[in-house]
Symmetry: C2
Subunit: 339 residues, 2 copies
DNA sequence: CACCTCATTGCAAACGTTTGCAGAAAAGAG
DNA sequence: CTCTTTTCTGCAAACGTTTGCAATGAGGTG
């Protein structure tokens, strides 16, 4: 016995006029007399009439909704992205439907299906780590629904994407250490099969090369968690030529390293300078404050949504996908200093 | 020229049969012959037919969608809640529409309106800090749409709610310090006009009373940010009878205090023990690890959604609202110790 | 052969809106 | 007073589905 939702028909019946007249009156159609308009509007207000968006969407075959498929909401970076998406969408009059894949392929497929069924006008996707088969995304293409990738792209699919310039940000971070006079720069990096790990390492190496500093593989580890870091640090500090600084693939790893270093009685940033990457949430609350790269998640969300809405409005079947690169910003804090 | 969405009618036309037959065939209605079923299903698969959820919702006047109004996605706690909501909703076949109020009243009102227009089947709300006027929420009630409050309730509205037991969690946190032999326990608390600030302070005071420790107003501050904390600490440490421990209304404030204390050359936990509250994200990465209260955001999201879906299914106009209290869990780490 | 029973299919209405077109009434023109 | 114009309103179809009911035809029964 739910509903009790007022419709245009109800208003029409109460007033003894037709639904079409009510519809026109509500949107100030010039054909309708002022008197009728007033009557209709007054009653609509009184009954708290809310237009049924579903009926509208069905009629116009557009739902004013955009779907988001995102790995995990609880990641600070992703929640920032969502925030950016939400803001732009809200201002453009779109509703946002958020689906988490939880990094699971099957769930990503299910989400895609649900969004398609919902007839979303466009989709924002950051694919899960598991995703290999792309049929579900081709499906979206086939249905001619604009799609924009953010953060994680799918190179086999022709679609717009908004990405972080991992290579360059890592380059800048490393360069910053080099300019401080550091020469033995360790790197705690991510797995090579992920863009994020590969590109950041490449940026790091390129900077070394450009500054004529030899790359020492003994200073490079695959370690990208808070827990991984201490082991690497302990190992390195036993070298006869230990590192004088460290660039980590993310902030948590950097923090793990910092604490390990401090526990060995060394001073940060004097003895060892440390630079992290992204997240940003922790950088200010640890001691010393962490020099790090801001990934601009909010901005990424905004950008991706703007592109998507543009595509929706253009309404063209074919277009040349753009790839927008958002530069990371190195924020120098207290964990790095001249030697 | 979008669309290219296949409909039941298209299938019907291709096969030279009626839409009703197609509809029935797709859902294995016993009236339809096996042969027809096969034909229909094959073609549906080939054309990648996706039922139009909008049409369905319109027909059934239920959208299988639940709306969420949440202050800010980027708060770790809230993003945990969303995660819980998403999981339960997904498993029950519901789509989740998320709206951020950004703690702004006007936006909350707009969100409510949008969700109403979308004909969501139910709403999960955590009201913004600004919200005083409740007309928009009464509106939801009037439309007979089930609503569940989480984390922040609205006592003027009769609805289910899921809350944290702030009082008791604060009581436990304080008791923990008392049992460690601490007697001069400072409290950095939130504003009194918010439940969260008031209840946690009351829990703190009750614990002191139960342990026959005198409440000293000089040890109680309204300070609930990382930046607020150091000032209070410096002030208190000049007392002739300074605190031996501290209970903060949230983790960031606790961390701000810890750093201020450490900067004064004092040792944590020996000289001063510290307990925080919630967030959890930081507790493990600072040094020493922070004793704190886990607020169980994910659990809260699950619980609220379960109740909501139950209400939706019951489909009763009148019911007695329940209030579910989720106990906070004190997690003892390294920042508190026997004196 | 008339009648009944199944099995299978189609018709039409409904959900809430919008909109082109036609219709009616009022007003203006001659 | 008739004809034309203007002003206002209503009809009906459409968006994609579902579903009660009617219709069709085949086969069975007496």
């Amino acid at each position: 016995m739910r509903s009790s939702q007022v419709t245009i028909k109800d208003i029409a019946k109460h007033l003894g006029i037709s639904a079409s007249t009510v519809s026109r009156a509500l949107k100030d159609h010039p054909d309708i007399s002022e008197e009728t308009k007033r009557m209709v509007k007054d009653l609509a207000a009184k009954l708290k009439y809310q237009p049924n968006a579903l009926a509208l969407s069905l009629k116009n075959s557009k739902s004013n909704t955009i779907g988001v498929i995102i790995p995990e909401v609880v990641h600070y970076f992703f929640s920032q992205v969502i925030s950016g998406i939400e803001d732009v969408a809200y201002n453009a009059g779109y509703t946002v439907v958020i689906c988490q894949s939880n990094e699971r392929y099957v769930r990503e497929v299910a989400n895609t299906k649900a969004l398609l069924a919902q007839r979303v006008d466009g989709v924002l996707v950051s694919i899960s780590k598991e995703t290999q088969d792309l049929e579900h995304l081709h499906n979206v293409e086939d249905h001619n629904i604009p799609m924009v990738f953010f953060d994680r792209r799918c190179s086999d699919i022709e679609a717009d994407s908004v990405l972080i310039d991992d290579f360059n940000a890592a380059y800048q971070a490393t360069k910053h250490l080099l300019k401080l006079g550091r020469k033995r720069i360790a790197h705690l990096g991510g797995p090579m099969h992920m863009d994020i790990g590969r590109l950041r390492k490449e940026g790091y190496m390129q900077a070394l090369k450009d500054f004529d500093v030899e790359v020492d593989e003994a200073l490079i580890f695959e370690a990208n968690t808070f827990e991984d870091a201490p082991g690497c640090v302990q190992k390195m500090m036993q070298y006869k030529n230990p590192p004088d600084s460290l660039f980590a693939v993310n902030d948590l790893t950097a923090i793990g390293a910092i604490q390990a270093i401090q526990n060995m009685g060394l001073k940060i940033p004097e003895d060892i300078s440390v630079v992290g990457f992204s997240d940003g949430r922790f950088s200010n609350i640890i001691n010393p404050k962490l020099t790090s790269v801001d990934q601009h998640g909010y901005e990424m969300g905004r950008k991706a949504t703007e592109i998507l809405i543009k595509r929706i409005k253009e309404d063209q079947r074919e277009y040349d996908p753009v790839t927008e690169i958002i530069p990371g910003t190195l924020i120098v804090r207290d964990s790095s200093v001249n030697r």
